[in-house]
């Protein structure tokens, strides 16, 4: 289980800060696929980096922390700053753009060996390792020949699969996947997604998938969160969000999706996300929101329960104490 509580993160641009993540707060339960959606630039990938504790200059966490709970216990955890030690064993990360993330001059196999060196401390002969790997590949319905290939000899989809295999090989309790399907054609996308689901079903671990493509979320995720301008504005079970979106932004996102037997012209979302260097005081969506009142421009909305497991951040959703920009 992964707990993100009140995390603020920013990019340090020497002379100024870009507050990429602003007070994001949610949990990823065991045995679920959690999706994070939002326009590009809304900070979802950054959030994923923060969750993975991948903080190199200029990205830095200014407030809050991420907690990774070991196994099923909800008391024992490691926090931002210590996660590195558990990389790949407890938590693994499938980066964006499978194209260039594999060492072009070594065989796929070698990259597995590298990974193993993290997990298996007891001595193992190369052949035993090979055994393990290829059997694992079989489980994932990948031909072991792939191991003998060089990355540039594999198709994009195949590379993505291999990456997922790599990431899940040591059976970590959390798997973070960043845009796993971008730059792949639809058919391949489908396979990748089914592969992810099957892996998850078998290992019962928690998986986080970041994608700008609502379709992906609809297909695979159990729960999902919508991000806008560095903030989480709505979290809830996926189908509930699709059936009954609460936040105006979410409504627009869903509304923009094509539906069977509906040929009405889809209107996109007017305007652009605000500049994160100095966001305005009130709701960050206010200036693009058609329901916005002048109040919206003053008070920043807080998350409010709107369903059993469903909450959203909008002043229009009934009684709302609001919060100051720096939510103290």
């Amino acid at each position: 289980m992964l707990e993100i509580n009140h995390v603020r993160a920013r990019y340090n641009m020497l002379t100024s800060f870009v507050n990429a993540i602003d007070d994001v707060n949610f949990k990823v339960e065991n045995d679920e696929i959690f999706g994070i959606a939002g326009e590009s630039g809304c900070g979802k990938s950054t959030l994923l980096k923060v969750m993975y504790d991948l903080l190199d200059y200029p990205l830095e966490v200014s407030d809050g922390s991420v907690r990774l709970y070991k196994g099923n216990s909800d008391t024992e955890y490691v926090e931002t700053g210590e996660l590195k030690k558990y990389w790949w064993k407890e938590i693994s990360y499938v980066p964006q753009g499978a194209m260039h993330v594999m060492n072009p001059v070594t065989k796929v196999e070698t990259q597995f060996f590298d990974t193993m060196s993290r997990g298996y401390h007891e001595k193992m002969s190369r052949n035993q390792l090979r055994e393990k790997i290829s059997s694992y590949m079989k489980e994932l319905e990948l031909s072991p020949d792939v191991l003998k290939a060089y990355p540039h000899q594999l198709s994009g989809g195949m590379r993505q699969r291999v990456l997922i295999a790599l990431a899940t090989f040591l059976n970590p309790s959390v798997i973070l996947a960043d845009e796993p399907t971008t730059a792949l054609d639809v058919v391949v996308q489908k396979d990748i997604l089914t592969m992810l689901m099957s892996v998850q079903k078998r290992t019962k671990n928690s998986m986080v998938i970041v994608s700008h493509d609502m379709g992906v979320h609809y297909q695979v995720t159990n729960r999902m969160g919508i991000m806008y301008a560095g903030q989480m504005i709505e979290i809830g079970p996926t189908d509930e969000i699709f059936d009954n979106p609460k936040h105006p932004y979410t409504q627009m996102l869903i509304g923009a999706l094509p539906k069977v037997g509906d040929n009405s012209q889809k209107e996109g979302i007017p305007g652009t996300p605000p500049n994160l260097k100095d966001p305005l005081a009130g709701c960050r969506f206010a200036e693009r929101c058609k329901y916005a009142t002048d109040e919206c421009c003053r008070i920043q909305p807080a998350m409010v329960q709107v369903g059993e497991h469903h909450c959203a951040a909008c002043l229009l959703l009934g009684q709302n104490t609001g919060r100051s920009k720096h939510g103290n």
């Binding site: 990389w87 990360y93 980066p95 993330v101 001059v105 590298d114 990974t115 993290r118």
Partner: protein, 332 residues
């Protein structure tokens, strides 16, 4: 199959390169204002002893015959190339007639290869090591120190640098002999010791000045690679830094450097003229120089052809093995 096709076309280039190179080297000297016979006559007569034109012509004739310089340029060219290619014989040296150029080269070449071969490899290794460090450990003090030193030595003109070394270590603090003396024949540990001892200063000068370029190129290469996704991913996988360098960065940066090294190894056959002059080191550089200055066609051809051949072979080898060391490159 594909390999054979590649090999074929590459070999054609190889042969062609050598032929073109040799042709150029054959003709350039012959367009020089000084021709060996005339300048030899000139020198003979400049000893202010004078002789009547008839006897001068006689001498010119005999010299031309001896040197095989009769006939049109074309005929000479054909004849010469024929001899070199089929009998691998460069003919006699003109200024040291009748000693075969072959022998002259044979005595000098081993020395050149020994010194330059070793010092080139050493400076390659050192240079790449430093370059790699400076490239990926940008902020570490030691890498900065090393980088700084090699960068500061590199641009010093070699002549001056070598001379300074001599002044420091053979004159002000006389550790090494002022003029090397390789009075050795046959192999023995004693001789080896003499050779090594006498070669330390020249080697040092070559290594120190040679390292710089490797540092620079390796540095920028490894900087780029260091920013590649697969490197950051390797780090994301939480691999040990040592492994990231040895398994990911090095293999990807070393390739161009290997190309360079191979070419360098070819060029050592030019010898190191200034080194040889300054350190009294026997080598092929001064032979080439002498040949050029005295318009000794055969000597020029012999020495330069050797080095052309060497470099060409080096490049050929590089092209052939490249696909083996870099899977991304296919024969085409």
């Amino acid at each position: 199959m594909k390999f054979l096709k590649f090999l074929g076309s590459r070999l054609v280039t190889y042969v062609f390169t050598i032929l073109v190179g040799m042709t150029i080297v054959f003709f350039i000297p012959r367009f020089m204002p000084s021709d060996p016979v005339e300048s030899m006559l000139g020198q003979m007569m400049s000893k202010s002893s004078s002789m009547d034109p008839a006897s001068v012509d006689a001498m010119r004739q005999t010299l031309n015959e001896n040197f095989g310089l009769n006939g049109s340029l074309g005929e000479q060219y054909i004849g010469y190339m024929g001899r070199v290619i089929f009998t691998r014989d460069f003919g006699p040296s003109l200024t040291m007639y009748p000693v075969p150029v072959k022998d002259l080269i044979a005595t000098s070449l081993p020395w050149t290869i020994g010194l330059l071969g070793i010092s080139t490899v050493i400076s390659w290794i050192i240079g790449n090591a430093i370059g790699l460090l400076a490239g990926i450990k940008k902020d570490k003090v030691y890498s900065k120190v090393l980088e700084g030193i090699s960068i500061c030595i590199y641009p010093i003109p070699y002549y001056i640098f070598a001379l300074t070394l001599i002044m420091l270590f053979a004159y002000i603090i006389p550790i090494f002999p002022l003029s090397a003396n390789f009075n050795v024949s046959g192999f023995s540990w004693e001789n080896l010791k003499t050779i090594v001892w006498n070669s330390i200063l020249p080697a040092l000068s070559l290594i120190l000045t040679g390292t710089g370029w490797w540092v620079i190129s390796m540095m920028s290469l490894s900087r780029n690679t260091n920013e590649e996704d697969f490197v950051s991913f390797a780090r994301i996988k939480g691999l040990k830094e040592r492994r990231v360098i040895s398994g990911y960065i090095l293999p990807n940066t070393i390739l161009p450097q290997i190309t360079m090294l191979a070419l360098q190894m070819g060029t050592i056959f030019n010898g190191a003229l200034i080194t040889e002059i300054l350190f009294n080191y026997p080598g092929i550089g001064s032979l080439i120089y002498r040949g050029v200055l005295q318009a000794d066609y055969n000597l020029i051809m012999g020495t330069i052809t050797i080095s052309i051949f060497a470099v060409a072979t080096a490049t050929l080898v590089v092209d052939l093995i490249y696909p083996f060391i870099d899977p991304r490159v296919r024969y085409n």
